[in-house]
Subunit: 341 residues, 5 copies
Amino acid sequence: MTVSYTLEVANARFGGFSRLLFRWKGSIYRLLYKELLVFCGVYLFFSVFYRFMLTSKQQDLFERIALYCDQFTNTNFIPVLFVLGFYVTLAFNRWWGQYTSFPLPDNLMMVVSGNVHGADERGRLLRRTLMRYANLSSVLILRSISTRVHKRFPTLEHIVEAGFMTTHELKHFESLHSDFNKYWMPLTWFSNLASKAREEGRVRDDIALRLLMDELNNYRAKCSLLFHYDWISIPLVYTQVVTIAVYSFFAFCVIGRQFLNPEKGYKNHNLDLYVPVFTLMQFFFYTGWLKVGELIINPFGEDDDDFETNQLIDRNIQVSMLAVDDMYQNLAPIVKDKHWA
Amino acid sequence: MTVSYTLEVANARFGGFSRLLFRWKGSIYRLLYKELLVFCGVYLFFSVFYRFMLTSKQQDLFERIALYCDQFTNTNFIPVLFVLGFYVTLAFNRWWGQYTSFPLPDNLMMVVSGNVHGADERGRLLRRTLMRYANLSSVLILRSISTRVHKRFPTLEHIVEAGFMTTHELKHFESLHSDFNKYWMPLTWFSNLASKAREEGRVRDDIALRLLMDELNNYRAKCSLLFHYDWISIPLVYTQVVTIAVYSFFAFCVIGRQFLNPEKGYKNHNLDLYVPVFTLMQFFFYTGWLKVGELIINPFGEDDDDFETNQLIDRNIQVSMLAVDDMYQNLAPIVKDKHWA
Amino acid sequence: MTVSYTLEVANARFGGFSRLLFRWKGSIYRLLYKELLVFCGVYLFFSVFYRFMLTSKQQDLFERIALYCDQFTNTNFIPVLFVLGFYVTLAFNRWWGQYTSFPLPDNLMMVVSGNVHGADERGRLLRRTLMRYANLSSVLILRSISTRVHKRFPTLEHIVEAGFMTTHELKHFESLHSDFNKYWMPLTWFSNLASKAREEGRVRDDIALRLLMDELNNYRAKCSLLFHYDWISIPLVYTQVVTIAVYSFFAFCVIGRQFLNPEKGYKNHNLDLYVPVFTLMQFFFYTGWLKVGELIINPFGEDDDDFETNQLIDRNIQVSMLAVDDMYQNLAPIVKDKHWA
Amino acid sequence: MTVSYTLEVANARFGGFSRLLFRWKGSIYRLLYKELLVFCGVYLFFSVFYRFMLTSKQQDLFERIALYCDQFTNTNFIPVLFVLGFYVTLAFNRWWGQYTSFPLPDNLMMVVSGNVHGADERGRLLRRTLMRYANLSSVLILRSISTRVHKRFPTLEHIVEAGFMTTHELKHFESLHSDFNKYWMPLTWFSNLASKAREEGRVRDDIALRLLMDELNNYRAKCSLLFHYDWISIPLVYTQVVTIAVYSFFAFCVIGRQFLNPEKGYKNHNLDLYVPVFTLMQFFFYTGWLKVGELIINPFGEDDDDFETNQLIDRNIQVSMLAVDDMYQNLAPIVKDKHWA
Amino acid sequence: MTVSYTLEVANARFGGFSRLLFRWKGSIYRLLYKELLVFCGVYLFFSVFYRFMLTSKQQDLFERIALYCDQFTNTNFIPVLFVLGFYVTLAFNRWWGQYTSFPLPDNLMMVVSGNVHGADERGRLLRRTLMRYANLSSVLILRSISTRVHKRFPTLEHIVEAGFMTTHELKHFESLHSDFNKYWMPLTWFSNLASKAREEGRVRDDIALRLLMDELNNYRAKCSLLFHYDWISIPLVYTQVVTIAVYSFFAFCVIGRQFLNPEKGYKNHNLDLYVPVFTLMQFFFYTGWLKVGELIINPFGEDDDDFETNQLIDRNIQVSMLAVDDMYQNLAPIVKDKHWA
């Protein structure tokens, strides 16, 4: 479920974002705790290994290796942060781009409601069918990119059952063969049906037809963009480079950040805290940022913070039908408003 | 209240931005002073604790821990700054995006004024009602995202009372059931009423109707975008990562930046100033930047610098009515201008 | 005056940007020299103070403080640069956004010239009045945001005098009361007058009227955006954070960068140059960057590099009248061109 | 082939991106292994050279040089990372810009299907020809920028053979001489043919013709943008600067990162690991990021991750013909939907 | 000449960008070699000066100064890189923005070809003249911003001679006085001529006229944007700050990076290489990046990598005439395509 929290921080009060830290749903803790446990386990293993299982001479070697690794994690050998910053910013822009490409039928339904006329059955049929086509198209596209929607509609029959398609249409849809995603077909039906409605006089003039066509094209463009966002990912190589950077950093930390015997007087090793507080902090921080990337690189999954695609599909069809059917020419009486002078 | 200050710094004079430092309203001081007091309190506690309550041996341990913590805050273990930079830039872009999505009725009213004709009562009624619908829609959306507007209109009755809606319309509005925000309904009424006005000949041609529809769709798109900005926040995880980074940094500072006994000759501890000037500076600086983030992540709250939503609502309805009613075909005589040749 | 210099560096020749360094108008030297003098004065004061006015013991204390401060300015305690980079980039984007929002009447005048017909007086009157309204609107908006324009037109009477408004129109304008900026009123007049011209047949068809309305809306949108850029500044808090960062940095420099007695053997204090070359360099550099921010945060002031609003206003009205009056249907004879085959 | 992987990481599960590390196709390993081998070879050569081929005195010199070089690679002499970050971000934006400029005929075909009428042969001929012209144009442009498409259509005859062009049209195309890319010609044919269809009454009204023209212009704009992306590259100088930075960094590493004799007690040279783990890590990381740049600077090549231009061409023509021919006015019967009330 | 090289690096092969290093045209070497020679000369001078012309005591002083300067260039006193990164990114965005604002007549010519009818002389005359006006306008604007175009057309007579303008038109053009750039005049002629063509029935309907007007306005907007890009440069102050940063950095390098006598045992001065390899590398790198900025800040100059304005002007007029004259209603016979079923 999308996690909205801006209302909670509407005002920049004392404490500010601190209240956001005590949430589990959609939180960094929930995303990260497994990785943290694994990291702690491995760290613990090496700690025990170093303290109890090595001969004095082996310990010396281990300490030398640890110091060497530590040098790597302290200086800027691998600038994890920097590359994460660039990567997450890119991913964030794509994430928002995908959201704003989500096809919403609101413009289309307003136009259909105002321009496809007739309160009789034929009129209702035309308006409802047009909107159904538009919604069907977005369901088809979302099914191919969202795991949630795909679970809800594993086959086309499920779509028919949910009322987005009639069996006639399904047959028609399947009779046309194409090697590629056929999400655009219901929109072509829309275009043809609108053309027919013009011939029947249900659409009263050419300009209204044009308006329908324009909004249809806007709608289609969004479906198409969504499809392409899914198809063309951030180049795999980039994601791999970032992942390797973060993982290797912590691989070296597991050894390099061991507390060495304070008595041996290694530099910056005067204190044996057993728990590597700073390293855990860093783990939390860097891996947390990488998780942000994982979260937003595909917002159509089932994470807490992913888009509510199924809910949006329901909203869209409900609202479409309301607007073109129940609300068609169904106006409250037009009376003078309160401030009429 | 929005804090405008650019006029004061219109010219890059001597001193420049310095005059902006002496303001309380909307200032960093106002936002930050509570946090600063808490930080100072905690710092003071540890300072007293270290100086007067510990035995000599405990002091030694404390010093070792302090040095360890200091190491963490001095080097780049947690690059607070960098992550703040990226985060605030993202938040800033959303902030401005929200502002530019604010639905202003100016285009719509100009179009209604020029294309819905008739100086008689029916004409006035049509124009006023159309603009009222548009304004009503934005009130409905703002009510759901702005705490200020919600306080002003806690129930729909308050909206009726304020004259944005008639009681007929309220009944109509409530009779249509939808599980989702119904802000778009008055815009569907607009669409249907415009269609009716065309039938009555008040809108004289199809092209004028299309113009009304186009501007309506632009207006709706802005309402919708505003709604989605509110629904889809910056992923919670990202905000948490940033907050934890800043908070943990200063948690370590509270101990690591204590002035240790200069006589013990610790490196960089030659001076006991009691007041950690630099650390306070840093606190001011980093927490201040985080506060910028808090401030702009939801510009519809009640901060000094948040958008003046209520004022804008008043402006919009006033200006709408002026434009479509008082100013309708109410032109000054057209005379030759001064430079007529 | 806007300082254009790209022509000088059109070619990346030897020396390149170096020739830009020897300019006074709009230069960094002109903007900065006062601040530099103040900084040098304060530095000199402390220098004299340290060298001649302190006892040997006091000097020791001063040196300890200086070393402490220096530590602050050398390491990354306050990362002035980074925050400046982010801030100036934001400000730059707004700056260019404001420039591209400047309402230019070119599209409108071309459309008026081609679609409002009649070479007789009435035709000329209509075309000139329409363009005058558009220009008047931009003058009203610029008057409220630009100090230069406000100086030129301190009252509405000055606008009348300059020929942008007739006295009839002024009376009309003032008779309509609104608590908010009324820059949009002349544009409503435009809309109504265009509508009238259509009735009179001066605008020959509905599509031409629509074209006028569309360009009007584009024009209005720019006026409105300009107004909002002015109203909604970069949050004050952000500007304050940046300013404090830069100022405190140099406050510490004034003490921390003093040349300490080389004989005392402090680290990196082997040379007494009297003039802190590097610190001045840094001052020049960081304060210069901050000045860039000051310069561009409000491009409607009176800096050398601010937009030439008054000149643009003159250009717009002159060009508008030329296009719709002198050039109306005033074509050179259409003859075969040189390459006619 | 484009490598889509977002579905695999739809959910931010445990392990997250780690599963992406074990892929060969489109992976960083595949892109980098040759460079890595060369680097290892050269490093090995110097290693053997230093250990076995030098006299003791020569070794001393080598060590001094190595220490000198190491200093260069450790500190920030050449900030490879930073410049890579800026460069790759620029390249990434261009890359996505190119993708979104890819001319897809979907809008055009929907408009042709709904507005060019007649189920008879002439109607079909018109619709098919119009769409063929559009597709032909994109093939012509892609041929000039994509190596893959150029291999598929080495001559114009191949395009004729593939059915995008008739021999008549080829003759026509070649008879018109221009020194520049002639990809726009089929679109002029489209414009003229649409105009003819209007005369024949196949396009029923002027508004439908305008719609065809508008979509044609959108389509052409994309073709044109693609052409210009190809023509105007990121300035060569920028690419050279980045490449030199990365290459020189590793040139110095090859000597500076040699393990020096631990017995000589050079600082940070206490351990002889033979394999320079960190340096390889860095190589992997920095060169990997540069490879990302190489990959995306021209997405029309034959890399694993480049755009599937040939596949898209096939899709476009297939889908175009389906939409305007098979699907023309070919609607499933319009029946009441499931939720009809 | 624009330097296109992406085809060469279409595939991310072994070696990748390395092949781009061996080019002279448009290369960093060509841009930089003079500066490099000067820098080497100055460095050499100080080197000789220090080694041979100073007494032992003067050498001591020189060494102290050199060490002082070196400290400045090694640490982050002036973060050249960072400020270059921000500056070049800004400049790059403007550069691409300018390119995409280049007025191309393609849309206009397609619209003229499809909507201004008549194969007779009058028809041809109208179409050719309209396109000539559009091209003339872009020549006028480019003449004022591009040094290349200005060299080609030093006076308006040259434009007449090249066939972009008739002598009648020149007289007309000069008779209209304006203090500002008059590039928009031919576009007003276009608008008026199109209006006349509508009256004559050459443009058959109002919608076609509107299409002409819309495309005209798009074209004009691009001309205007280009003009403003030229007028409003990146603020001079910003460019100066960046230039001073880079230049002062290398001014200090010239002394600070001298090889001091290794026998004196200064830290990091164990080796006398005579040639300061790293410093040259840095010079190459930083100055190279600055040169990128110089190159792209004005893409209308005569650099190797600047836009081919003259070539584009030729292309535009040639292509315009082809499209509206030779290709007017000149279609290949419409026959069934290969895949007709």
